[in-house]
């Protein structure tokens, strides 16, 4: 996609989006809620029409070549809505057939993997189970490209794990996956490259290792005596000391010396939180709407 602009009335959802995914890679598409992830995916599927800019998917125009293009891709919508009076199995088979065929054995295996009862009416499914229906229908096809819009929303950690296994398998088979998410750790675990979208523009794009500098770990530690000069350590930021408790934001490179200093000070308890995308945005791009000025 180059220079893609999409407006809804007076609201500009995508404001000159440039973005590309290489064949055979798992590409994480990260952004906070409302940043334009779903709009981008719908444009790639020809469900929306761009106001300007050019879009090619597998060498085809998504607006005009719908049938040929969609035979080669599979899509999981961000908000899975299915017919309440059909069973999960019926929906999976219908979507598979419309897709141009699905692998029966693979479908049954996926049902087992995701622990989904296909005989239940969709009306009775929870959000997570509806999500599984869409995932099974998509993953059981033989597509070259998978467009997954926040595919793990509503899934419990066990199922998230199963999903990660499936994506790794796809990658092993040389298929291309575009995975949108607002959870950094998910993209981190699966992606070869990530693009970060904010307010309708891609603000960072590259291999995850390159973006590593953007992430910090939040550390909270209880120590016997607080050592002096913690905030002088390289890569340690925002140090706050209250009684015997230390909290700080630490760059990946600064973690080892910081922890050594804490251990030497008589470490009693330690919690650390991986950086969230929200932290990342707050730190690097400032509050909503002002990323231009705050960008590092």
């Amino acid at each position: 996609m180059t220079g893609v602009v999409k407006r809804f009335g007076s609201v500009t959802a995508l404001d000159g989006l440039d973005f590309s995914v290489a064949e055979g890679e798992v590409h994480g598409f990260l952004g906070p809620n409302g940043s334009g992830k779903s709009t981008t995916l719908r444009l790639l599927l020809g469900m929306l029409r761009a106001n300007s800019g050019s879009i090619r998917v597998l060498g085809l125009d998504p607006w005009h070549d719908v049938a040929t293009l969609h035979r080669r891709l599979a899509y999981v919508p961000g908000d899975v809505a299915i017919w309440p009076n059909l069973t999960g199995g019926e929906v999976i088979d219908l979507l598979g057939r419309l897709q141009g065929g699905q692998d029966r054995a693979r479908r049954d295996l996926l049902l087992q993997t995701f622990d989904l009862d296909p005989t239940k009416k969709s009306r009775t499914y929870s959000k997570g189970n509806r999500q599984k229906v869409a995932l099974v229908a998509a993953l059981a096809t033989d597509a070259e490209l998978f467009l997954l819009d926040e595919p793990t929303s509503g899934l419990d950690p066990l199922m998230e794990d199963a999903f990660r296994g499936c994506v790794r398998e796809l990658r092993g088979q040389g298929r291309t996956v575009l995975l949108s998410s607002h959870i950094l750790s998910e993209a981190e675990a699966l992606s070869d490259r990530v693009s970060i979208i904010r307010a309708g523009r891609v603000v960072e794009s590259g291999p995850l290792a390159q973006l590593r500098h953007l992430t910090r770990t939040a550390v909270t530690a209880d120590v016997a005596r607080v050592p002096p000069g913690l905030d002088l350590l390289p890569g340690v930021h925002d140090v706050v000391v209250t009684d015997h408790r230390v909290t700080a934001q630490v760059d990946p490179a600064g973690l080892a010396p910081f922890l050594q200093a804490l251990t030497a000070a008589g470490l009693e308890a330690l919690t650390s939180q991986p950086p969230t995308l929200e932290d990342l945005f707050l730190r690097h791009y400032g509050p909503a709407g002002s990323f231009e000025s705050a960008r590092l």
């Binding site: 719908r42 969609h70 809505a81 009076n85 059909l86 069973t87």
Partner: protein, 546 residues
């Protein structure tokens, strides 16, 4: 609300009651906010119609002799009696002017009350909006109480304002009040019917269909009752619409009859609350049973059929039953001929054959309009499927937009044709067995089939609206109601000829249908095709609504 909650925590009987009602006020305000255009427009619309009819009536029928002649002619025409009922005081200006309002417009009012009630009960429940609100401080009975409060208030306001409008239009005050209260009470009764229906099924569409079915059946009952000689027979007394006629506004004002719809309402409301207390939020009365693990739907057309066949089957059953009953009423047409004055009228109209034809034509054209309503509701699946997000899942596959839109459009068009075929044959069979004339089957079947193109025009209009202004999908219903009103009252309102000519129903041939009808039918079919193409063009261009 905090006080309500505080009381509910005390655990007393009154406290528990207040607990199940918590949040009613908020819901009423929310409902009024959502319908802030719909409700005033429709209340004012009914009052305005009442006023213009009252005012026009005085001009049309200046003296008593005039009125008696017109009333006698109407009472002697079986198709008019079947459709609209009888005039119980031939000299009364009010009874004559409002003949099309006592049963016919009352049924339309009932439909609107059903739509309103279901929209605020099962509709909100199915869409999950109530669950969202239910997470807040909302008692179990609050949604039903607030929905009924809105429906009842709308009924009463419509009735009172219309009563005032009729009086301002020059009709006697007492009769006007009786008429207005009749609308209020009948509107409330059908709101209560809808409130019960909303508890039975998990789908708002099914609940609406069931309630409208009740209206159709009760309308039919009173038609049978009114046609009996001397009318009305017991059948009229089995129908709330029949009760509304028996209030006999401007023709004796039988006030006590008002107690019948109010009693029905008072009986049904507790039933609705009882049923609600017996089920979970979002569930129907029946538990969901497991279904097949494998699907056999071959494509989007099969899916559209699967999603629609139950409703279509219900319509088919209703059309067949209605057709046979209506058809058999042809036998009563002969009875009418014996009444004084009718002999001359019959000769003027062209003999007994013409009279039978006129009767059948009137019934068949009503069924044609009803089939158009089916066509619109079936075509509007496009919009509801899109709004529900189901379309996104389908368009993510190799299905093209046109193929998907065609699936529901095809079901709608075919459904309309099927309904008209069944109507024609069943009216024909009913009529043929009533007067021993087998030829009537083919005759009414052809007449019913001739209604198809006009109904297709409305069906295609729904597709056109879907293609260009999907948010206005409900507007097609307004169009249909407008065309019905124009057809029934256009002359009374002095509507210009070109405006009335816009209605496809005006160009549909009546009995007997012969070769002369072909150009009109071709033109109507072409108009439907054009609207369909227009709809496709818009749908191909626009964004999918998220």
């Amino acid at each position: 609300m905090s006080r309500t909650l505080a009381r509910s925590r005390t655990g007393t009987g009154a406290g528990r009651l207040a607990g199940t009602l918590a949040g009613t006020g908020v819901l009423v305000r929310l409902g009024l906010r959502r319908d802030r255009w719909l409700l005033p427009l429709w209340i004012a619309g009914f009052a305005l119609m009442a006023y213009s009819t009252a005012a026009a009536g005085a001009e049309l029928y200046p003296d008593a002799a005039n009125r008696v002649a017109a009333s006698t002619a109407l009472n002697a025409t079986a198709s008019m009696v079947a459709l609209f009922g009888r005039i119980y005081d031939p000299a009364s200006l009010g009874a004559l002017s409002l003949i099309k309002y006592t049963a016919f417009m009352t049924a339309i009012l009932a439909v609107l009350m059903v739509v309103l009630t279901i929209r605020h009960t099962r509709g909100d429940e199915e869409s999950g909006r109530l669950e969202l609100l239910g997470g807040g401080r909302l008692g179990r009975d609050a949604p039903l109480v607030s929905a009924l409060a809105i429906s009842f208030a709308t009924s009463i306001l419509t009735g009172l304002l219309s009563a005032g409008a009729l009086a301002v239009g020059g009709l006697p005050g007492s009769g006007s009040l009786a008429f207005g209260l009749g609308w209020a009470a009948t509107g409330m009764a059908y709101s209560a019917v809808a409130a019960v229906a909303a508890q039975l099924t998990a789908s708002a569409r099914a609940a609406t269909g069931f309630s409208i079915g009740v209206i159709a059946v009760t309308y039919g009952l009173r038609a049978v009752g009114d046609l009996a000689e001397p009318g009305p027979s017991v059948w009229s007394w089995l129908s709330p619409i029949g009760w509304n006629q028996q209030i006999r506004a401007y023709a004796g004002d039988h006030w006590w009859v008002l107690s019948l719809p109010l009693t029905l309402c008072a009986a049904l409301v507790p039933v609705a609350f009882f049923l609600r207390s017996q089920r979970d939020l979002g569930a129907g009365l029946r538990d969901e049973r497991p279904g097949p693990a494998r699907g056999h739907l071959s494509g989007v057309l099969a899916l559209a059929v699967r999603l629609q066949y139950r409703v279509l089957a219900a319509w088919c059953v209703a059309f067949v039953l209605f057709g046979v009953v209506i058809g058999s009423l042809v036998g009563n047409v002969a009875d009418f001929l014996s009444s004084p004055g009718a002999q001359d009228l019959m000769r003027a109209l062209g003999g007994p054959q013409a009279l039978t034809d006129a009767f059948l034509a009137a019934e068949i054209s009503i069924m044609g309009v009803t089939a158009a309503a089916y066509g619109i509701s079936a075509a509007n699946h496009l919009r509801s499927e899109e709004a529900a997000g189901h379309t996104e899942a389908l368009l993510g596959t190799a299905t093209t937009r046109i193929r998907w839109a065609s699936s529901h459009y095809a079901v709608a068009l075919a459904g309309v044709a099927l309904l008209q075929l069944l109507t024609g044959v069943s009216i024909g069979i009913g009529a043929a067995s009533a007067v021993n004339d087998a030829e009537l089957v083919a005759r009414s079947a052809v007449a019913a089939l001739a209604q198809i193109p006009a109904a297709w025009v409305l069906t295609s209009a729904a597709l056109a609206v879907f293609g260009w202004v999907p948010r206005m999908a409900g507007g097609v219903w307004v169009l249909l109601l407008g065309l019905i009103a124009l057809g029934e009252f256009g002359v009374l309102w002095n509507a210009p000829e070109w405006l009335m000519d816009l209605s496809p129903f005006r160009h549909t041939p009546l009995l007997p249908v012969d070769a002369e009808a072909v150009p009109a039918l071709v033109a109507l079919t072409a108009a439907a095709a054009l609207l369909g193409a227009l709809g496709y063009a818009g749908w191909r261009r626009r964004d999918l609504a998220a």
